[in-house]
């Protein structure tokens, strides 16, 4: 975590909301921290558009100058399609800013919050993609139940 631009997400009532709202959820997010971390200038190495979760692999350079390959999970394709994703939303070589809730065990893994492209457009996770941080949901169409 050290060396990356750490942006403290807000641990708030939003966390309770997220835990209590299983829409789109395939499994819980107990493995991940309650605050997100932001990586700038991350380079996509692979994008797996797959069930049960799509995976984003990317390289990021840490404070010591080492390139670390991270993997971040997001929702299944059928859920991502509804909020603007496609199979080709990410391609190897894309340079992005990515926010994720990282694994508590320190491994280079996490759950997506959102991706920001150079032109400012964004792609969010469904389950933890809320801009408020604190593991809140992303719900652009008012689908919340």
């Amino acid at each position: 975590m050290k060396g990356y631009l750490l942006v403290a997400g807000v641990l708030s009532l939003g966390l309770l909301t997220a835990l209590g709202s299983p829409t789109f959820a395939h499994h819980s997010n107990a493995a991940y921290a309650d605050e997100f971390t932001e990586f700038t200038q991350a380079t996509v190495t692979r994008f797996a558009w797959a069930n049960p979760h799509s995976l984003i692999f990317f390289d990021a350079t840490d404070a010591e100058g080492n390139v670390v390959n991270w993997v971040v999970e997001t929702a299944a394709p059928q859920a991502l399609r509804l909020i603007g994703w496609t199979k080709t939303s990410l391609m190897p070589g894309d340079v992005i800013t990515i926010r994720a809730y990282l694994a508590r065990n320190g491994n280079p893994a996490g759950r997506l919050n959102k991706i920001t492209f150079a032109d400012g457009t964004e792609l969010h996770d469904t389950q933890l993609g809320g801009d408020e941080g604190g593991k809140t949901r992303y719900d652009p169409h008012g689908f919340r139940n």
């Binding site: 819980s28 493995a31 797996a48 069930n51 049960p52 508590r104 320190g106 893994a109």
Partner: protein, 283 residues
């Protein structure tokens, strides 16, 4: 003054044109093969009276993202017999404090089928009901499942163990028969569910092959369907178990995109993602 008037006129003209522009956008060609968010949204309100003896159509469940109320979970704790308790205690259930890396849930770890009744109380995304003269089919989006419910008046089979030509093979979805209890309530009974690798609920409740599950599909309006389920399984439970209520909303335009579980893909997911992400414990 002239500038001000021109500005007002331009502003009014702009306001008048906005709906036209919006209309032009909505008139853009739409592919019938694309998935539009509004097609996965639950209808609002009851939508009128329920049609008589008709469940046909596509329905949204709680995990569809379509704004459907959350289900009522099975009763807890379950009224287990000593044998049921023994089986239940072997199960490590994924949830708060227990990640995918910890669980021994055969679906999460191996892509094993949920089987019935779990596929009607877990991951309730979307459902289609289709009827032909002697059967009703329940099609479930999550894992691309179909259930076959016979409505020709036959009895349920009773033998699934032992030797003999009348012994039936257990199946993941069991054997189902259905009938209309009244004009708006379709009752389904199911038995013979394979029990070796399936859980009855995501909470790890067990079931035996001899369990008999009763579902009541009650359509209270055009848009509202509630499925209430009970399970009788004397080997594992001391009394009938309330398996909860699941809510559906009619949504005729939704599309069922693939949601299968591919074993090789899930193994890759576990190796590359879930297991490295760990259990939530600090290093």
């Amino acid at each position: 003054m002239r500038v001000t008037c021109t500005g007002i006129i331009a502003g009014v003209a702009g306001l008048l044109l906005l709906p036209a522009l919006a209309g032009a956008q909505s008139d853009a060609p739409r592919s019938p093969w694309k998935y539009y968010p509004e097609e996965a949204r639950a209808n609002e309100g009851p939508g009128g009276p329920a049609p008589v003896r008709d469940l046909t159509g596509t329905w949204l469940g709680e995990s569809s993202g379509g704004g459907v109320p959350r289900l009522v979970r099975p009763e807890s704790p379950p009224p287990l017999t000593p044998l049921g308790q023994q089986v239940f205690e072997q199960r490590i259930v994924e949830g708060p404090g227990v990640s995918v890396a910890d669980t021994n849930d055969p679906h999460y770890r191996y892509c094993d089928p949920f089987g019935f009744p779990r596929n009607m109380n877990d991951q309730i995304r979307s459902m289609t009901i289709a009827t032909i003269p002697d059967r009703t089919f329940v099609l479930l989006k999550f894992m691309n499942i179909w259930r076959e419910i016979w409505t020709d008046g036959r009895d349920l089979p009773t033998r699934f163990t032992g030797r003999g030509a009348d012994v039936h093979d257990p199946t993941y979805n069991g054997y189902s028969v259905g009938y209309w209890e009244d004009d708006y309530t379709f009752v389904v009974q199911t038995t013979g569910m394979a029990a070796d690798t399936t859980w009855a609920t995501e909470q790890g409740y067990p079931h035996s092959v001899d369990a008999v599950v009763t579902e009541r599909f009650h359509r209270s309006s055009k848009n509202d369907l509630t499925v209430t389920t009970t399970m009788v399984d004397p080997r594992l439970y001391t009394r009938p178990v309330q398996m909860g209520e699941v809510y559906f909303r009619w949504s005729p335009r939704q599309t069922f995109f693939d949601f299968s579980c591919v074993p090789s893909t899930v193994q890759q997911y576990l190796e590359e993602m879930a297991d490295p992400a760990g259990t939530g414990a600090a290093p």
